[in-house]
């Protein structure tokens, strides 16, 4: 078995699905995570990796009114984050602010900045533009995609535009192109769809079924990585979206989430329901000239793209986040509420 217990662990009290890197925190490597418990008092944990990188400290613990299905930290303000939550019967999404001086308060309460309450159906996710300050937000439910204008000072969010994907395409998640503030990808039942936010119209789609997770490559434009239930991981070039540029075998069971490293091009992390996190290297060269099938090339392609498999989990892993401050560090969250921080440094020289 690879990947013993090198990681740093932290246990949440309840089951959990989502973890997010606090990108705006430039002083520490920190992560936000929220629990998913139908019947208990849910919590949001602010975790910070100690400077030595040997300990994971709970920096803040805030109660959250409902079970959290999605959580995303604001990329330009470390105290702001968004959640998607469910009461069991209905869904809601909100923007929260961590109160100042929370360390001194006994039971710090999250301040609700805004509610994204235009949705009817099951909300999937709230997206922030990953590359910088942008006062727009995207939220998705199964049928609709909303573009919000967020004003933190006024504590308000209003719908700028919306589009419906249609009843047949039940959307399940999405990603915002870090290279283009107007491009958003959403995963649906049978395809990955792309919107242009200026016109709020569907512009493109990849016909590929059962996509669970999607992530843009932050280092290279037009490159998109998708994770599917049975068929593993695919790397796409959006300029020729018919055929994937590369295929990775994925996980034994479903591949749930996939994340591109913010710094090292080609380094891909995937989390699966087989209780494992896999670290891949999708070599850029093979994706560039896949057509040339010289024997040398083919042998090179046969080099196992799987760098490492972290298998020290007890349950399915749904939450996955690279740290943007220390790009060789990632946090993973398994369903049983265990946060594990791992460093991929030992595998970097091989790239």
């Amino acid at each position: 078995m690879q990947g013993g217990s090198s990681g740093i662990g932290y246990g949440l009290k309840y089951q959990a699905r989502c973890i997010s890197d606090v990108k705006a925190d430039t002083d520490y490597t920190s992560f936000l995570t929220g629990t998913l418990s139908l019947k208990e008092e849910n919590e949001v944990h602010l975790l910070r990796l100690s400077s030595g990188g040997s300990e994971l400290i709970c920096e803040g613990l805030f109660s959250h009114p409902n079970e959290i299905w999605d959580l995303a930290s604001c990329p330009f303000d470390q105290r702001i984050f968004s959640t998607v939550f469910s009461t069991g019967e209905s869904f809601g999404a909100a923007i929260w602010q961590i109160p100042e001086l929370y360390g001194q308060l006994n039971s710090p309460q999250l301040e609700r900045v805004a509610s994204l309450d235009a949705h009817v159906g099951k909300i999937n996710c709230v997206l922030w533009w990953p590359s910088g300050r942008c006062d727009k937000l995207i939220s998705m439910d199964e049928q609709n995609i909303f573009l919000w204008n967020l004003d933190c000072s006024k504590k308000s969010a209003e719908v700028l535009s919306k589009d419906s994907a249609g009843v047949l395409h039940s959307l399940s998640g999405g990603a915002w192109d870090p290279h283009d503030v107007n491009a958003v990808a959403a995963t649906g039942e049978s395809s990955v769809q792309f919107w242009d936010l200026r016109t709020m119209k569907k512009v493109n789609s990849i016909e590929h079924a059962h996509v669970r997770g999607v992530d843009y490559n932050p280092k290279r434009e037009h490159i998109l990585v998708t994770a599917e239930d049975e068929s593993g991981i695919h790397v796409w070039d959006l300029r020729k979206a018919k055929v994937p540029v590369q295929e990775l075998p994925g996980h034994t069971h479903w591949t749930w989430a996939v994340k591109c490293n913010p710094e090292y091009d080609g380094l891909i992390l995937s989390a699966g329901t087989d209780s494992a996190v896999n670290l891949w290297f999708a070599s850029a060269s093979s994706s560039d000239d896949k057509t040339s099938e010289s024997p040398v090339e083919s042998t090179r392609q046969r080099v196992n793209p799987l760098l490492n498999s972290y298998t020290d989990y007890e349950d399915s892993v749904y939450g996955l986040a690279w740290s943007s401050r220390e790009p060789w560090v990632f946090a993973s969250l398994s369903y049983d509420g265990r946060v594990v921080i791992e460093s991929v440094k030992p595998f970097l020289p091989r790239i």
Binding site: H208, H210, E230
Partner: protein
């Protein structure tokens, strides 16, 4: 004597020195050269100073010594005197003899002058006499010469007058060579005087010559004439200044026309070969095409030989022609092997072509035909080898696809088994045949084959390597694993029957374990040469690599099979969980029908697997083993499960969760995702495990009310028995089913399980219903 000898030598030496000093122009040289101790006391040196010597002597010596010295000196002086005297005498003698000699010479020369004068006089008289004779004969000679010239002229005139008659005679006797010689001889005269004196003559001879030219031309074109004669005719024609080029062109054209007849057209090729085979029985029968072809080529080569001799200066065109023929041959051969051709047929054609080439090469050795054709043959052979392999690959994929037309029935009958066996046979038989054919190639004795033996071996090795590689690629494409035809996942899985994937997987195993070792043996036995020369980077055929490739492929394909199967179930489950509103679910009335569909899918998998894969050999052993290690696990999760059932109180949910965690902590981690093996049980088990895991994941994404939970509970309870029936690893199934219940209870707002009696009743009802359904289908 010895004592005497030394002074004697000394004496002689001194004499010589003195003499030489006397004759030498520079006395210093001789003295410095000869005297050994040139110091003061050396009397012989030129720098000798008598006074100084005396002073030194007087100072140094006493009286006695001086006296002694005096005596010694006196003796020396006396000696010197006699020496000088002798020297003078000797020289004098020589002078006297020299004078004598000169005197004698003088007297001898004295009478010679007179004799010389006499000789001169005699010679003068001879010359004058010969001049006289010459002048007297000159006139007569002139006359004779003139007469001779006239005679010659007359003879020539006579010849020209005779020329027409002579030419006629030549024509009659067909002595065209003489005729031409005569005519060309007379030509200059005819040219000059033809218009005046010899007009008639000229006309007559020209007529005759015209006839000759005509005759010569017909002779040149007539094939019946011997080559020698034809060549002579050509030469003669050339001598007669007849434009030969047009003739040459005509001849060439004729040759080119005959070239068309020599082509081995692909359509005729087969008949050629067939008849070639049968010709062994009927040797005398010269009607079969091969013989005809051979004769034609022989004729052609003869014609070329003739042409060459006739026009030795235009070989280039011939070379071109011959090359064209060879190139054409090989071109047609390439066309020919585009269709399916057995090695024997190929060799037959090749032999014919090669014979042609050899024939031509004999005629035109300079055309480098053998090199040209060797190159062409290499290309053709290489293509042939490649084509053989591609045909084989085509065969295999045909066999695979042939059976897959009626997909629906595939599961019912033994079709998969048939496909598998057929394709296995195709691969094995195909490779065996192909190597037999190749062995024929190697056994071929035609010149070029022997030369290329190594190359052929190399090609075959490389060919088989490429073949297996592309076969593997094709398997993957056939299975839809590599999306060469970019399809949507659902579409492609519809298109490609899952059973086929399974067959491909098993076939890969077969190739890895049976075919490749066999091929390796074949290659080692017959085609081992040629590695080192043709391929610098090691041997072209690497069985180890191929085994690895196919091993990987088989695993990939098996995984792909399981994936496509579970995908189907996944779609099923997805629909099941997406459609109802689980929070407002009604009380469960019966087991949901998706369970049936799920079980049906599993049944299909079981059927397919049974046809294709071998049974696990140590099934029994494995089961007891897993029981041994996992009974505690399952029992514990069972008790936990029962506990949970009993404890319906929602307020205890939290401690329940805690307990779950705790239980998990202590529980041995059940290996859900084990490596798939190539056995029926393993595949079924893996499929079931993956499906149950999917079920669990779907459950986790929902929120249930009490009834929803109960529905799940009911479905799972129903699944339990048939799944355990089908699956090897009961513990894992138990665990996974429990996990689904746990997941559902975790996602349930109000966990109150169904009472066991109700559960039982509903399940019995379902069983009865399905039995009835089965009976109905059977009866209908």
């Amino acid at each position: 004597m010895a004592t005497e000898a030394a002074p004697m030598d000394e004496k002689a030496k001194r004499m010589r020195d003195l003499l030489s000093s006397f004759y030498a122009p520079d006395p210093s040289i001789s003295t410095s050269g000869s005297s050994i101790n040139a110091s003061f006391d050396n009397i012989n040196s030129t720098s000798f100073d008598a006074d100084q010597y005396m002073d030194l002597m007087i100072k140094k010596s006493n009286l006695e010594v001086l006296l002694q010295r005096h005596v010694q000196m006196a003796a020396e002086i006396k000696n010197l005197d006699t020496d000088l005297q002798m020297l003078v005498y000797e020289n004098y003698n020589k002078f006297i003899s020299a004078t004598d000699t000169i005197k004698r010479m003088k007297s001898n020369i004295f009478g010679m002058e007179g004799n010389m004068d006499q000789l001169l006089q005699k010679i003068m008289s001879v010359q004058s006499k010969s001049d006289g004779v010459n002048t007297s004969l000159f006139e007569k000679r002139e006359h004779i010469e003139k007469l001779h010239r006239t005679r010659n002229l007359l003879r020539k005139v006579q010849f020209i007058y005779d020329l027409p008659a002579r030419l006629q005679k030549c024509i009659k006797s067909e002595a065209y060579g003489d005729a031409v010689r005569f005519y060309t001889g007379a030509m200059p005269i005819l040219k000059v005087y033809g218009d005046t004196s010899f007009q008639d003559c000229r006309r007559a001879s020209e007529e005759a010559i015209e006839i000759i030219i005509k005759n010569l031309q017909t002779k040149l074109f007539s094939d019946s004439e011997s080559i020698q004669a034809r060549a002579e005719a050509a030469v003669l024609l050339k001598q007669l200044d007849v434009p030969v080029d047009s003739l040459k062109a005509k001849l060439l054209e004729k040759l080119e026309q005959s070239l068309d007849g020599l082509q081995i057209k692909p359509e005729e090729a087969s008949t050629l070969v067939e008849d070639d085979d049968s010709s062994n029985d009927t040797e005398s029968n010269d009607q079969h095409p091969a013989k005809i072809h051979e004769d034609a080529v022989r004729g052609f080569s003869e014609a070329i030989r003739a042409y060459r001799e006739i026009f030795p200066d235009s070989e280039e065109r011939l070379f071109k022609l011959a090359r064209a023929l060879t190139a054409m041959h090989f071109e047609y051969m390439e066309l020919y092997i585009k269709k399916r051709v057995s090695a024997a047929d190929f060799l037959g054609i090749f032999r014919i072509v090669w014979e042609d080439v050899v024939l031509m090469d004999e005629v035109l050795p300079e055309a480098a035909l053998s090199d040209l054709s060797a190159e062409a043959a290499q290309v053709t052979l290489k293509q042939f080898v490649a084509r053989m392999f591609s045909h084989l690959q085509q065969d295999i994929s045909d066999t695979l696809l042939k059976f897959d037309i009626n997909q629906k029935e595939a599961v019912e009958g033994e079709l998969l088994k048939v496909v598998l066996e057929a394709s296995q046979k195709a691969v094995l038989q195909g490779t065996t045949n192909i190597f037999q054919d190749f062995r024929q190639l190697l056994d071929e004795k035609t010149g070029i084959f022997i030369k290329m033996k190594d190359l052929i071996s190399g090609w075959i090795q490389k060919g088989s390597q490429d073949f297996f590689r592309s076969l593997e690629a094709q398997f993957l494409v056939l299975s839809g694993k590599t999306s060469s035809s970019n399809d949507i996942e659902g579409k492609s899985s519809d298109k490609i029957h899952a059973g086929l994937i399974l067959v491909l997987a098993q076939l890969s195993v077969f190739i890895e374990q049976k075919v490749i070792p066999r091929v390796t043996e074949e290659i080692a036995a017959s085609f081992s040469g040629g590695n080192s020369q043709a391929f610098e980077n090691g041997p072209a055929f690497i069985p180890g690599e191929l085994c690895r490739v196919f091993h990987a492929a088989s695993e990939k394909l098996l995984q792909h099979y399981i994936d496509t199967r579970t995908q189907k179930v996944s779609v099923l489950l997805r629909k099941r969980f997406k459609t109802p509103n689980w929070v407002k679910h009604k009380e469960p009335r019966e087991v949901h029908m998706y369970v049936d569909m799920f079980l049906h899918e599993l049944e299909e998998v079981g059927k397919e697997v049974k046809q294709v894969l071998p049974q696990g050999t140590f099934r029994k052993h494995k089961r007891t083993d897993s029981n041994g290690s996992n009974t505690t696990t399952s029992s514990r999760s069972n008790t936990l499960h029962n506990d949970k059932m009993a404890r319906s109180n929602s307020q205890r949910a939290r401690s329940q969760l805690f307990e779950t965690h705790l239980a998990k902590l202590f529980k041995q981690k059940v290996e859900i995702f084990t490596k798939v093996e190539f056995t029926q049980e393993s595949v079924v088990t893996t499929t079931v495990k993956l499906c149950l895991k999917s079920l669990q994941e779907y459950v986790r994404l929902q929120t249930f009310n009490r009834s929803g939970f109960q529905q799940i509970q009911l479905d799972i309870q129903f699944l339990k028995a048939p799944l355990k029936e089908a699956v090897e690893d009961e513990a894992a199934i138990d665990f996974l089913l429990d996990e689904v219940i746990v997941a559902a209870s975790e996602r349930c707002l109000d966990v109150i399980p169904l009472e066991p009696p109700i559960l039982d009743k509903l399940i019995q009802a379902k069983l009865a219903k399905s039995k009835e359904h089965n009976n109905n289908t059977v009866s209908s």
